[in-house]
């Protein structure tokens, strides 16, 4: 089941890589920051999933809206001559790191609990 999203990721990558012409260099920064925002939504979703409060509406909306907002913020920063780009990178970077750490902690805890209960660790 998990293979379907993974396949989608690869297919999306290949389709765009082959079909879409490269974006102008000044857009590259915005695309990069949108990717960071998407990654943040992804990691956040993983954490929520483990904490059993995952909601697909929040995930989907968070993914797309954060992506757009991050790119927009960077764009406005460029227009104002302020490196808001950096602020976005730092903020998102810290969040991704926090969420990754939290996810790891949850996974380890779950594994330890499973072992203590005398059951083999299962991954849902």
């Amino acid at each position: 089941m998990i293979a379907i999203p993974f396949a989608a990721l690869v297919m999306g990558f290949l389709a765009v890589y082959v079909l879409v012409p490269p974006v102008p260099p000044r857009w590259a920064d915005y695309v990069a920051i949108a990717i960071i925002a998407g990654l943040d939504a992804f990691v956040g979703a993983a954490r929520n999933w483990l904490e059993r409060r995952f909601d697909e509406a929040i995930f989907i909306s968070g993914f797309f809206v954060n992506m757009a907002l991050a790119a927009l913020l960077a764009f406005f920063g460029d227009k104002l001559g302020v490196d808001l780009y950096l602020a976005v990178v730092v903020a998102l970077g810290i969040r991704i790191f926090n969420n990754l750490g939290r996810t790891r902690a949850l996974l380890v805890t779950a594994r330890l609990e499973a072992r203590r209960a005398g059951m083999p660790a299962s991954s849902d």
Binding site: M1, F6, A8, L9, P22, A28, G38
Partner: protein, 245 residues
């Protein structure tokens, strides 16, 4: 969790497609950027190569010329009189370039004077209607650029090392003070000289705009005097070249 799979599978797939696509864009354009830089470096290298080849070609020509000259010397060496003639010719060419002899030939005469227009007032405003050393330098430069072979300003021969400098209200050429009106004489291709001076937006264009009297005439017989004082070389010494080959 199998029953609840549907509610995350679809959004996750959609998100993955988008994320994959964006990664695709980014990787693709980063790659393009790198290739562009390589292209730029390549074109710079090609430019260097072309320049070097041009220099090489020039030096080859120079070598050929010198070899021919050497052959000529050797040939003329047989008869002493021939050698003397060749050397005299070369000496003559050097003398013309140095301004050591008067020269004659077709060319142009250019007369410039301070503007008839007077400034309405204001300190320093009248400077606008006076010929400056920079104007004369610009004219001289324009003449050389148009291939003038000999140039004189108010009877002062302009050669390498000649200066046109401002000193108080006068202008010094080769250390001799001159004043308006200024007369340039130049020997060379008349048409070329005239069109170079009259070029749109050039020095004469600017002077005419401010109502400076400018008189440009061509002449088939212009005589340009030699340099009044031959420059002395106190510090510069020729380098003896050992010609062992």
């Amino acid at each position: 969790m199998k029953s609840g799979a549907r509610h995350w599978l679809l959004p996750l797939t959609a998100v993955c497609i988008v994320l994959g696509g964006m990664l695709g864009i980014q990787v693709r354009s980063q790659k393009e950027r790198g290739e562009m830089q390589v292209g730029r470096q390549t074109s710079a290298l090609v430019g260097m190569l072309t320049r070097t080849e041009a220099q090489l070609e020039q030096q080859r020509e120079e070598t050929g010329r010198l070899r021919a000259l050497l052959a000529q010397y050797e040939e003329e060496a047989a008869s002493e009189r021939g050698l003397v003639r060749v050397m005299r010719e070369e000496l003559q060419a050097s003398r013309i370039a140095l301004g050591a002899v008067a020269v004659r030939g077709p060319g142009i005469e250019l007369e410039l004077a301070d503007s008839t227009r007077r400034s309405i007032g204001g300190i320093g405003a009248e400077d606008l209607y006076v010929i400056h050393d920079a104007d004369l330098l610009q004219v001289a430069n324009e003449l050389w650029a148009a291939g003038a072979e000999a140039v004189a300003l108010n009877g002062q021969r302009l050669v390498t090392g000649s200066s046109i400098a401002c000193s108080a209200r006068l202008i010094e050429v080769n250390g001799v003070a001159i004043a308006s009106p200024f007369l340039f004489q130049a020997i060379g291709d008349k048409d070329k000289l005239v069109s170079a001076l009259n070029i749109r937006g050039g020095v004469l264009d600017g002077l005419r705009l401010l109502e400076f009297p400018v008189k440009l005439t061509t002449n088939d017989e212009i005589t340009i005097p030699p340099l009044s004082v031959t420059p002395k070389h106190i510090y510069a010494q020729p380098v003896e070249r050992e010609s062992k080959q």
